[in-house]
Amino acid sequence: MNFIKFLLITFLYLAPVDIILAVEPDEVLTDLKLESRARDISANVRCVVCQNEPIDTSNSGVARDLRILIRERLLAGDSNKEVYKYLVDRYGNFILFKPPLTLSTAFLWFMPLLVFFLGVVILVGVLKKASPSNKSRFSNVSNDTKFSDSLENKKGKK
């Protein structure tokens, strides 16, 4: 009985987490396709007041205005690209969570590749350096067999 109570209380606490969305009922479009596009866009648009929150979940006034605006643009027949452009024209690239590839963000975008190639270069260097001594140590087949022989001997003894 107590366990059921515990479960009930736990679910009561957890349940609203999924339901709480800043998108208010009066904003939702009747056209489900457009609405889902609007949701996709607003998840990628930064709230300019709360900054680390997308406007999709933000409760600020400007976020609500932008959500309504996005839906208006979609109803007017804008493509997703055009909607993003509309927002960037007014708020700059800052409003996008995913920064576009420009001269100033090139470093950001190519950094992982750069680090990867640096890693490859270092790895190749290390392996090359290690290979001559590798040969002298391990390419000696007789040594190798002796080692495995001794292992088998040990197993046999047990």
Binding site: V48, V49, Q51, V62, R90, Y91, F94
Partner: protein, 180 residues
């Protein structure tokens, strides 16, 4: 070449360290949203006057036809920092070389009228932006926000937050540069 490999960690820590110190010491504000309007022509808008106020409303064309440096100030009666900067705006309004225009952002008409009666009306134009759409066209993030527009109708500076103290001093310096 090989002899200098031991310098690599030192160089790396110097580079990272320099960025860290820059991040800590510089008086930059990382959360300040850079305005997308800087060095661009003022956005299209057309605002009606506040009902009951003699001051006319204004549009983009009004500002372009002025051929004067203009200061566009977003304000609202519900905005406390706006009250703080109002004295600065009164001071600006005494300068005949500039045109000070106000955009009343998401405000109730009567409250805005009371505000201007109580504190004085420094504006040559006051536009009513009840919907906040003109605010979005200017890319504002809140009120107060103030823009300096040069004689060619280009937005040259944006200040967010109240124009008081050091900020107002900086504002006036930049404004003087535009007036030269």
């Amino acid at each position: 070449m090989r002899r200098f490999v031991f310098l690599v960690p030192l160089a790396l820590s110097l580079i990272i360290g320099t960025f860290s110190v820059w991040g800590l010491l510089n008086d930059r504000n990382p959360s300040e949203v850079p305005s997308a309007l800087i060095n661009r022509s003022i956005p299209k808008f057309n605002l009606s006057p506040l009902p009951g106020l003699r001051t006319p409303g204004f549009s983009r064309d009004n500002l372009l036809n002025l051929k004067k440096v203009s200061v566009i100030n977003f304000f609202a009666s519900w905005c406390l920092p706006c009250r703080a900067e109002h004295q600065s705006l009164i001071e600006l309004s005494q300068n005949n070389e500039i045109v000070l225009a106000g955009i009343n952002y998401k405000d109730i008409n009567k409250d805005a009228l009371d505000w201007l009666t109580e504190l004085g009306n420094p504006y040559t134009y006051v536009g009513d932006d009840f919907s906040g759409r003109t605010g979005i066209d200017w890319g504002i993030t809140g009120v107060p926000e103030t823009f300096i527009v040069n004689r060619d109708g280009k937005v040259v500076h944006r200040f967010s937050g109240p124009l008081v103290g050091v900020k107002f001093k900086e504002f006036k310096e930049l404004l003087t540069l535009e007036l030269r």
